[in-house]
Symmetry: D2
Subunit: 280 residues, 4 copies
């Protein structure tokens, strides 16, 4: 019984976006087998007991222990190969994860397809005024509509002109330079599970651009049932965790809500948020 044969493991994002699991190791061909089992098996090598088949409870405990103590190598024994359809401006962010392997659709060899990222009205967000990034706040309907219309025009004009110069024989490697960053590309993207979890911890974060975060969320949803203990631990010890700095520990210990003067203004703001989350 091969889980990958029976369920097409994919999630669509917007009109053209796609995240799909093509293959993985272990292939989950045996009943009860999960990524967690392969991780535990490798981790037990250090104790010379990798052929032991312990209870589920023991496996869960081991996974949690590996997580807390940053023993990352057993998680490298699992690999996942995705197929992604994504716009270039997102691809340019995701490719910064250098530990993944990529094969990409090339506009040197083939013309761009008629696939472009166009935001929905709700997706046209304003610039944040306090930090340097995009905010959650939405543009007015009028401005959003104008931006969407412009995006569509740029895309269709770019595609039309690309075809026009293609007809004149202009080389595709040159012709492509006028395509916008909203143009879709296609990837095979292969990564080991340790690095996928690191990627997710960065890209599920609220500081990540929403459009990129949606790809991380899709990978997260697709992989979660394949590694239940690992993702439970990931949520407990990574996503839902708080790191307290030395200065913050000192402040809590002294029962004061003010950080030492050695902290920066921004650290004080972050500390207040942490205290709130801790109910202190």
């Amino acid at each position: 019984m091969d889980i990958l044969e029976n369920k097409p493991l994919e999630i669509r994002i917007g009109q053209h976006g796609l995240v799909k699991i093509i293959d993985c190791m272990p292939r989950l061909v045996n009943p009860g087998e999960t990524f967690d089992h392969a991780i535990c098996q490798a981790a037990r090598t250090s104790y010379g007991s990798n052929d032991v088949k312990p209870s589920e409870k023991v496996n869960r405990g081991l996974i949690r222990y590996l997580f807390r103590h940053e023993h990352g190598t057993p998680f490298e024994m699992v690999n996942i190969k995705f197929y992604l359809s994504l716009p270039i401006f997102i691809a340019r962010q995701i490719i910064r994860t250098r530990t993944a392997s990529v094969n990409e659709y090339s506009m040197r060899y083939k013309q761009p397809k008629d696939k472009f990222f166009v935001p929905e009205v709700n997706g046209v967000r304003l610039q944040s005024t306090d930090n340097k990034q995009g905010s959650q706040e939405k543009a007015s309907f009028e401005d959003a509509s104008a931006f969407i219309l412009y995006t569509e025009q740029v895309a269709s004009e770019a595609l039309k002109k690309n075809e026009e110069f293609e007809q004149k024989g202009i080389g595709r490697e040159i012709n492509r330079i006028n395509m916008p960053l909203s143009t879709f590309t296609e990837w095979y993207w292969e990564i080991d599970f340790r690095n996928l979890l690191h990627f997710l911890s960065l890209r599920l974060d609220s500081h990540t651009q929403k459009e990129t975060r949606e790809y991380a969320e899709a990978m997260y949803s697709l992989c979660k049932p394949l590694a239940p203990y690992s993702f439970e631990a990931f949520e407990d010890f990574e996503i839902g965790s708080i790191r307290l700095s030395k200065l913050e520990i000192e402040a809590i210990k002294s029962r004061i809500s003010l950080l030492s003067a050695k902290s920066t203004e921004r650290e004080r703001v972050e500390f207040a948020e942490k205290l709130k989350r801790l109910g202190l």
Copy 2:
């Protein structure tokens, strides 16, 4: 005497392109010191004789030996940090070299600058008819001019509209999606010398898009005086070399110019080219 203080080590490419050495290790602060010396020093560790200072001739021989026998690790003991100004469509090719470290200008934080790649008339090349890539053949003056004009229009329109939506407060991370691939970006790009040489062997190749090749050529020119023996060996054993396959060796040995039927059509074409280069 610090060589990096005295010579601004940079090469301009076109109107906006730039390749500049920011720093390197060794810093060449001592007279007579080159990358080659640091490589030899590390290589000699395996013989326990890294504090020996042998003659230049011996160093040259060692570098050549390391090259021929693929002993790459001593070349990792040298690092180079570049500053690059380059259009996004080239950046997307160069970033495939995952062994380099990158810090990039971000259009999430700052608006695009008024810098775009616009080809010269000679740079508007036709699509190759026999392989899938761009060719050396140039477009007609008329077609080239039309393409250049269009490129300029796309760029100036994109910049104008970007500013317009910026004024309306649209988030930069969204606003950027309509910028064309010709838009310039800026990089700090740090790489060790082993991986730089591998990068150069791929990107100086005639199959690489000319616009990307120019960046590789600039790096090559800038680094060559810093590692004379390494680059001499690189030219002898890598760039200017020929690899003969098992089938090709058999054919030469049998004094025939035909490859065995196990070869593909394309391999036969490549073999003919090699025989020509060898005068056989």
Copy 3:
């Protein structure tokens, strides 16, 4: 039909050595599926035609093309996980391949097992007189026997003493320091196929210590049926190939068997060997 279920894929090396395929991606669960197919599928992404199912002949041609032109990334889409039982002096060589993932038996946690590498009489080779490495020439029966006897004594004494100090409660992390390099260790070793091929090209080479080479040969034998076209290409273009340097090309073109004075003595020896292989 899962090939990994039906065949235990393993090769024994000497008394205690073992190379075993634990898992791979693709898992070969579908009839006719090989590593080659997964590689071709990923490679075709650049042409936007990865869902095409071309003939075997076309696949073979593509694999050979990728090999000749150093398009390595599609080979990264295949992963293999091995279990290795190997002595520490070999483990120390293999771990230099940093692109693999490792989980290792730890003598901090567990005592050493009663497994040591002891050479056979034929395996006690003499030091080469012309280069710095071991030679093919064998030691006298007397010397070999003395070495074997000594090796066995060191091993059994080390094990006995380790147990003695274990009984006294000495920490294993300290106790282990007197174990010899012949002590066996155990590894999970996971690597992608591109890096496995690179590893094999280095470790199948005659310059590699014989004992390490045997591990490379076992991996080679185990993987060969899983990727027939890739290994055919590997033999044609890598293992059985000759690289001619620029100076060598010039010499052949000028129909002389002497290299230019810019070459070193050693290069001349290597050139003579190449000419012999080429029948020139």
Copy 4:
């Protein structure tokens, strides 16, 4: 004025151990220059303001910000090359850091030197009874002395026999297999600053074997004056920090000192320790 010229940057460890900075990038040749400046310069690229020279206070704030938000890439723009003299059992731990480059003394080419790790009486620690590692508790003087004596005997006997078989012409690659793990080796070890900090966070930890930790501590001491803000942030946000899991946050919020039943026994012990550190 080149800082590396004037101060021999090295720390001795025990009788034969050595950690020495051979070179670094930036080379600190300009007054006031530190690693911190190079990191800030690269980080500011994303804001297109890398040629700005802000105040020290602003630099410190930026370094702290990068640390808290895991923006690791600017730290990759700094490289350090060490020379290490270390016993094989420690080398085998440190080499697990795959992001470093290594050139090593080879016993295939040269005989072992007369350098072995021999613990001091205080260094012969007992096995921990509660976890699987070595403890802080010391062996009795008698047992420690016996272990030290045995270690010295193994070492001197191994060296003597190695020389004996060397005289008989036995190949060094074979001869070395009887050398103990206490034998010293020599390394050039090059790593970027991001990965050095990660290495230090793992290897300064109390779970690391003391003998390995001493090498991490030496690197830490040597590098600290070269990057004062980075190391201050490293101490505040990494070494001296506490990570609270989701379950721990819930417990603190509910003002209870018991973790939910979803936690393991070991997590409860760790939580008690954290509460103590926090004075809660």
